[in-house]
Symmetry: C2
Subunit: 197 residues, 2 copies
DNA sequence: CATCAAAGCGGATGCTGCCTCCGTATGCAT
DNA sequence: ATGCATACGGAGGCAGCATCCGCTTTGATG
């Protein structure tokens, strides 16, 4: 009568069920097998045909972006915590770590992410999230620069790239220890006014 | 009689011709389409069947390693130049750049390279080159540390990872300018005693 | 030069995954 | 209950990987 007609005409029932099942299954497969996982397998396990999967998500990137939406909310939550910090340098560091975790949610994720960050094709559904993240990073960088904790030459985009790199290396299966050494190297690279040795 | 029996028994003629043709064609395809290029296409263009390709190079990595051999010689040549430098910090910087160029010879190369560097399966033909490069980097690092130009906490392996990262980003099609900013960031990260701002 | 066995060749083959198209089933409104 | 728009899903065409095996080529031998 009235409530259902919010927009256009009719949101069908099975559509939403299928979409939800696909997202749930896709997330599991991305987690277990990386972003290159077989979409056919995802469809089959979700109990739908390949056609249905491709109608809902025309490209692998579209599916990836939709699954990543969930993770984005986690990231937003973390950002809320970070914003409460007094120390802008500490905030920046934690933000970088949060981005890195986000980027390494699935093995192989950094590649399509970088592709989206570079190309200004607005049809790539991963482009928007990337732009947002770069802007956010820039905020943190500027705040830390005002406090004299970060070199003036550094930009948000630089640290976005750095976080992406670390996430990529993480995804190749490198141990945690060398990874931490690399993080330190990067932190030394952008910091100013402390960490003498 | 005697000359042909250098080792074992007989180096056949077509074997060498095919091998050479495969390497030449593979290099072109790797350059143009990245390391993920179709091996079938390589075989066809080299004028051999798929079977022949796989007999010569059982895996993609094997072919890659063989093609990379050529590049390794270029790298060695560059290393000779670098060793003549007086300034160890300058030497380190140039060496990192040389490695980076080596890593980004073909798009997508850093991935199998990292896989080889991590896994201690000696059957992966890319493992040995990686180990050599890490050791070499360590040499340059130590020399620069003795001169007080590089932080004591830095290791060769860290900068190997860093160079690999930059090469990876380069391979994703990023512009040269942000790339250079990242290099600067890394240089600031390992340097000591200069680059104040 | 003719012969022979070993060594190498290459294409046919089976498999997996991608993506599309369209006849059919399904859910919603009347 | 009926009609119709909407969505389903599987068959099918395509590309690439990797293997196997009957046949050719090659170099050695007399």
């Amino acid at each position: 009568m009235s409530a259902g007609e919010l927009r256009g005409r009719k949101p069908r029932a099975d559509v939403q069920r299928n979409r939800a099942a696909l997202l749930e299954t896709a997330q599991r497969h991305f987690l277990q097998h990386g972003v290159g996982t077989s979409l056919e397998a995802v469809a089959k396990e979700a109990g739908v045909g390949p056609g249905t999967l491709y109608r809902h998500f025309p490209t692998r990137e579209a599916l990836l972006a939709a699954v990543l939406q969930t993770r984005s909310e986690e990231l937003a939550a973390r950002q809320a915590d970070i914003k409460r910090l007094d120390d802008p340098a500490e905030a920046l560091e934690q933000w970088l770590r949060a981005m890195e975790d986000y980027f390494s949610a699935f093995s192989g994720l950094p590649d399509p992410l970088m592709a989206a960050a570079r190309a200004q094709e607005p049809d790539n559904p991963l482009t928007i999230p990337c732009d947002i993240l770069i802007s956010a990073t820039d905020q943190y960088v500027r705040a830390a620069q005002l406090a004299g904790r970060v070199r003036a030459s550094v930009r948000g985009h630089d640290l976005f790239l750095a976080a992406c790199s670390v996430a990529w290396i993480k995804g190749t299966g490198t141990e945690e220890e060398p990874l931490d050494r690399l993080r330190t190297l990067i932190a030394n690279g952008y910091s100013q006014g402390d960490t003498p040795a």
